[in-house]
C-alpha cells in the first residue's frame, strides 16, 4: 500500500474513533519518517515533564543543583481519580531531587514536577530547550495550573460536561476558552517537536550525553503503560516513553529500541471529540495508528 492510501485509511479510522491529532514516527538511524499532521500544535499536558527533567538534570550535571539535596514537598491532597504520588499525599514529605525526578517522569506525579519547577522555573526550562537547539515545544506554566480545569470543579457524575466544554469551547486560531487547552497560552508542542526532542536524547546532540542517558533511563522506567506500550513492548524490544493526559487530550511520546539495533521515535498527540473520561477505545486506536505507521516505515 502506498503512503497516501495508508494515511487516508488511518485518518478515517481516527475520525470514526472520534480522534484527531498529530502523529510522527522517525527512524532514528536513517532519519526517514512518516506521520499524520505532524506539525499540528496541541497543548502538551504532562509531556512537559520530559523537558523539565532535561533542564533539572542539566543543572545537576553543571553542579548548580545537588541531586541528593532533600526538598520539603507540600502534599497535593488531590482526591479526584487520576493523579498519583505526592499529588495525593496528605502530609508534607522530604524527598531528594533525584527521587523527585523519578516521581515526576516515571509516575507523572505533578506535585513532584511542581517542586522541580520551583527550583527550575518554566522560563529556565524553555531556555534549556533553546540552548539545545530544540524549537516547537513551549514551556509557559507549572503543573498546578494544569489541574485547575472544569473537570476539577464538577462532580464525577458531571465529568462529561467538563469534556463537552473542552471539546466545544475552542476559538479560532487554536485558542480555547479553557486556558490549559489554548495552545497560545498553554505548554504546547507538535509531534515533530517531540520527536526532535527524543532524537536529541537518543542520538548525539547538544544535550550532554550523561544528561541524555539519565532522561532515557527515567523514560524506560515509565510505569504508565496502558496507551502505546501494549503495541510496542515485547521481550525483543524496549519501550521508553512519557504520557500526557488532560481532559480530552491523550498523548504519548517514546522510543522503541529493537534487539537488532533499529530505533524508532514515536509521537502521538491526540484530542478526542467524545465527551467521556474513560476512553480505552481511543487509547487502543492511537496505539494501533502509531504501530501501523511504525510498521510501514520499518517495512519500507
Amino acid at each position: 500500500m502506498n503512503d497516501e492510501a495508508l494515511l487516508r485509511e488511518l485518518r478515517d479510522e481516527l475520525d470514526d474513533g472520534g480522534l484527531h491529532g498529530s502523529f510522527l514516527v522517525r527512524d532514528l538511524r536513517t532519519g526517514e519518517e512518516v506521520g499524520i499532521e505532524p506539525d499540528l500544535e496541541l497543548p502538551s499536558a504532562s509531556l512537559v515533564k520530559v523537558p523539565l527533567a532535561v533542564a533539572v538534570l542539566d543543572r545537576v550535571h553543571r553542579g548548580e543543583l545537588d541531586g541528593a539535596a532533600q526538598i520539603l514537598v507540600r502534599p497535593g491532597r488531590v482526591t479526584t481519580p487520576g493523579p498519583i504520588g505526592l499529588t495525593r499525599f496528605r502530609h508534607p514529605a522530604r524527598i531528594a531531587i533525584d527521587d523527585l525526578l523519578y516521581l515526576s517522569t516515571c509516575l507523572s506525579d505533578s506535585a513532584a514536577s511542581d517542586a522541580l519547577f520551583d527550583l527550575t522555573p518554566p522560563t529556565e526550562v524553555a531556555a534549556t530547550l533553546r540552548a539545545a537547539g530544540l524549537r516547537g515545544i513551549t514551556v509557559r506554566h507549572t503543573m498546578s495550573t494544569l489541574n485547575e480545569t472544569p473537570a476539577d470543579r464538577l462532580s464525577h457524575a458531571e465529568v462529561d460536561l467538563a469534556h463537552t466544554l473542552a471539546i466545544g469551547a475552542a476559538t479560532p486560531g487554536r485558542g480555547h476558552r479553557i486556558p490549559q487547552l489554548d495552545v497560545t497560552r498553554a505548554n504546547s508542542g507538535t509531534a515533530r517537536s517531540f520527536v526532535d526532542l527524543l532524537q536529541a536524547l537518543w542520538t548525539p546532540s547538544r544535550i550532554h550525553p550523561e544528561v541524555a542517558a539519565r532522561v532515557r533511563d527515567l523514560m524506560t522506567a515509565n510505569v504508565l503503560r496502558h496507551r502505546l506500550a501494549p503495541d510496542f513492548s515485547s521481550d525483543a524490544s524496549v519501550w521508553s516513553s512519557k504520557t500526557g493526559t488532560l481532559l480530552n487530550l491523550r498523548h504519548e511520546v517514546g522510543v522503541v529500541e529493537h534487539a537488532d539495533g533499529q530505533t524508532f521515535a514515536v509521537a502521538a498527540l491526540t484530542a478526542s471529540r467524545v465527551p467521556a473520561y474513560s476512553q480505552p477505545g481511543a487509547e487502543a486506536l492511537m496505539a494501533r495508528v502509531a504501530r501501523t505507521l511504525r510498521d510501514h516505515l520499518r517495512a519500507a
Partner: protein, 297 residues
C-alpha cells in the same frame, strides 16, 4: 328567551294563517308555538296577532315586525348550513411517516364515524412541526419526552440474527483491543427518532460505555437504516412493531430505557383535545404503542 325559535314560530304561523298548520310546518307542537309567540309578544311589548279573528292575522305591529323576524330566521338557517359544511371540511393531521398504511386507513375510517373528515399527512418529526406552524395542517402528532406523552412506544434494538439474550447491552458492541476497527457494529437511528430525548441519551451512553462515535449513526431514511440492519450485523433502533414488519428480532436496550412519546399539538386547543379523545385508540395502533400491539403478538 329563545329569540330565534320564537321568531320561527311567528313567521311560520303568520305565513300559514293558522297556529295549527304553522306549528306543524315549523315541526313543533302547537302549544309550544303559542307559548313562544306569547313570550315574544311580552318581549317586544305588544300583541303580534289579532286574537279576535278566526284566522291568525298579524296585527299592524306584527306586520311591522315580520320582515326583521324573517331575516333573523333566514340568517339562523344559513348559519346552521355553514356550520354543517365547516364540520365536513377536511381535517389535515400531520402523522409520523412510520405509521402503517392499514392503520392510517382505519384511523381515517374511525374519524369519519366521529364526524371528522380526517386527512392524514405522513411526515418526519421536524416537518410535522413546520406543517403546523405554517397552518398547512390543523393538528400534528408531535414527538415529546415519553413521560409527557399521551402515547408512548418502547424503543429497542433489532437485528437480523436472533440474539440469544433477552436484553441487548450497548457495551457488548464495544470493539475489543485486538479486533480490527472494521468489525465495529453500528446502531442506526431512523429520522423519526432523531429527536433530543432519544438521540442524546443514546449518544451519552455510547460515549460512556466506550463505543466509537461512528457506532451510533442517524440514517437519512427508515429504508436506508433498515437496509443496514438487514444487510449486516448492524442494529436498528426501532419499535417492536417496526421490527416485526421488517422481519427483525427486537430486544430492549440494557443500559437505558428508550421510548418515543407522542402528543397532539394544534393551533386551536379544542382540535387537539378532540383528536386525543375521539381518536386515542386508532392513533395508538398507528403509532405502534404496546397496547395496540397486543393482538399482534
Amino acid at each position: 328567551m329563545d329569540l330565534v325559535g320564537a321568531c320561527r314560530a311567528f313567521v311560520y304561523v303568520s305565513d300559514r294563517g293558522s297556529f295549527t298548520v304553522g306549528a306543524a310546518a315549523a315541526r313543533i307542537p302547537q302549544p309550544v308555538a303559542s307559548r313562544r309567540i306569547a313570550a315574544l309578544e311580552k318581549h317586544l311589548g305588544a300583541p303580534l296577532f289579532d286574537r279576535s279573528s278566526r284566522r291568525a292575522t298579524p296585527t299592524r305591529f306584527g306586520q311591522d315586525m315580520l320582515p326583521s323576524a324573517r331575516r333573523l330566521v333566514d340568517l339562523a338557517e344559513a348559519m346552521e348550513h355553514d356550520a354543517q359544511r365547516a364540520r365536513q371540511a377536511p381535517f389535515a393531521l400531520a402523522v409520523p411517516d412510520t405509521c402503517p398504511t392499514r392503520e392510517l386507513a382505519l384511523l381515517t375510517a374511525q374519524a369519519r364515524r366521529e364526524g371528522l373528515r380526517l386527512d392524514p399527512r405522513p411526515a418526519p418529526p421536524g416537518d410535522r412541526a413546520q406543517l403546523l406552524r405554517s397552518r398547512e395542517v390543523r393538528a400534528a402528532v408531535t414527538c415529546v419526552p415519553p413521560e409527557e406523552g399521551t402515547w408512548t412506544v418502547p424503543l429497542g434494538l433489532a437485528t437480523t440474527v436472533e440474539p440469544r439474550v433477552s436484553v441487548t447491552y450497548l457495551e457488548t458492541l464495544r470493539v475489543g483491543r485486538t479486533d480490527p476497527p472494521s468489525d465495529a457494529r453500528r446502531v442506526w437511528i431512523q429520522p423519526e427518532d432523531d429527536v433530543p430525548h432519544v438521540r442524546d441519551p443514546l449518544t451519552r451512553i455510547r460515549d460512556a460505555v466506550g463505543l466509537q462515535p461512528a457506532q451510533v449513526a442517524v440514517a437519512s431514511s427508515l429504508t436506508s437504516a433498515a437496509a443496514e440492519a438487514l444487510g449486516s450485523t448492524d442494529l436498528l433502533l426501532c419499535a417492536p412493531g417496526q421490527a416485526r414488519d421488517l422481519g427483525l428480532h427486537w430486544r430492549p436496550a440494557g443500559e437505558l430505557q428508550l421510548a418515543r412519546g407522542y402528543d397532539v399539538a394544534a393551533n386551536d386547543a379544542e382540535d387537539a383535545d378532540r383528536v386525543r379523545e375521539a381518536l386515542w385508540e386508532p392513533l395508538a395502533r398507528c403509532l405502534g404503542t404496546s397496547a395496540g400491539d397486543e393482538d399482534g403478538d
